[in-house]
């Protein structure tokens, strides 16, 4: 078994869905979450608050520095993610297809380091 992160990214300028548009997406994601929880695939997951809420902490130097804003000014940012456990990449890709359809966004698949 391998753990994979399925991440959903937002781009600057992506249209913001209206309340009516977002409702079926929420429902589809809920159904997907229920399914993978029931099948024992779900490890963790969730949607993130907007990127404006990000704070960056840097404690690599002499003193810890806390800065308002994301790690890097970027035109793309993480909107949410799942961590799943799947037998192999083939299975993870099949789940990513379902996840992408459910959340109406592109999904990036990356394996976690072993151990």
């Amino acid at each position: 078994m391998t753990q994979y992160m399925l991440s959903v990214h937002h781009r600057a300028g992506d249209p913001v869905p209206s309340a009516e548009e977002i409702q079926p997406i929420f429902e589809a994601v809920d159904r997907f979450n229920d399914k993978i929880t029931a099948e024992g695939i779900w490890v963790f997951g969730g949607g993130l608050e907007p990127v404006e809420t990000a704070i960056t902490v840097d404690n690599t130097g002499a003193e810890a520095v806390v800065t308002d804003g994301p790690f890097a000014e970027s035109k793309e940012w993480l909107g949410g993610f799942w961590v799943i456990e799947a037998p192999d990449l083939e299975a993870a890709l099949a789940l990513a297809k379902e996840a992408s359809a459910a959340c109406a966004g592109q999904v990036e698949v990356r394996p976690f380091q072993a151990e």
Binding site: D88, E90, P111, Q113, A114
Partner: protein, 408 residues
Amino acid sequence: MSVDEAIERIYREEYGRVVASLVRRFGDIDIAEEAAGEALLVAMERWPEDGVPPNPGGWLTTTAGRRAIDRIRRESHRDAKHQAALMIEDDTPHEPTGVVEDDRLRLIFTCCHPALAPEVRVALTLRLLGGLTVAEIAQAFLVPETTMAQRITRAKRKIKDANIPYRVPAPEDLTARLSGVLAVVYLVFNEGYLASSGGAPIREDLTAEAIRLGRILRTLLPDEPEVAGLLALMLLTESRRRTRVAGGELIPLHEQDRGGWDRDLIAEGHELVRECLARAMRTQRGPGQYQLLAAVNAVHTDAPAAGDTDWAQIAALYAQLYAIAPSPIVALNRAVAIAELDGPEVALAEVDRLQLTTYHAWHATRADLLRRLGRSAEARAAYDAAIAATENEAERGYLSRRRGSLAP
């Protein structure tokens, strides 16, 4: 042939089978490759004295398997003992696969997985299934050996880290995934058939390798029509190889010495095309792109002389191909047939609409049509553009000769 040469030939022929079997057993490409290499060393030591065993492939697999177990035992990985315990007895039943059980088939689907970049798929397939060395693959694709080694190492790591399975896809995914595998095999063939640059105009080693992979796929998936189509296409193209270059110049189809074509390959290719046609009729499933291209080549190889070519049939096949795979290159090929049917003027109008300005064959086709229309100055410019757009010396040689033969 010396014993060492015989061993090398056997090793290359058996390499894919040996490595694929070890990969299934040990679940690790690096272990499989190293063990196969060690088995070769043992063979080179023993075979000259003991003679080549009756089943050299089986001998190599068994020897390599023992070496791999020794290695796993020797190494002090924290899970080594556990792993070794699992591996000593190879009595685990094969995982049930979708369609056909064959280790090589599993491995080629791994090598051609869509999670890997296309150029990496080709390199991995040649390395693991074809048994080509990293140096040979680097040479074939004109990159430094270190670059190719790095590319292959990264790909193997990705297979391991992302846990890309060694498995034939499920039947519902097979057709889609198979087209990726066929594309890799055809790419290998084309690189051999018309080397994009470098010294040799035709790389026989690559065309032969692609045909060998095509034959393996055909044995493993006898009911997949596109597999038969691709093999037929490669065989019929290969049948003309000996006549394609003379005096360092590429010889176009209509000037080739048809007596020099390989009749055995043609017979085999035609048989496959007939089989594809019969199946298409029976199943009411239209032929795919490789079958159509094979049919085009069957029409060419059927004509005793260039003048006997059934151009109407060829134009119809390209039109059919365009309907399923609309690309300007298919349209260009159709235009060549149109030139024979309706004359160069009609064809030129079609060719000019395509504007494939970076493609040497587009310029070369225009040049030839303009020459036939007596528009020498324009033809000369088109030949110049075609010569500038190709790195293949033999093709440049041919284009230069045509350019030189234009009326002033």
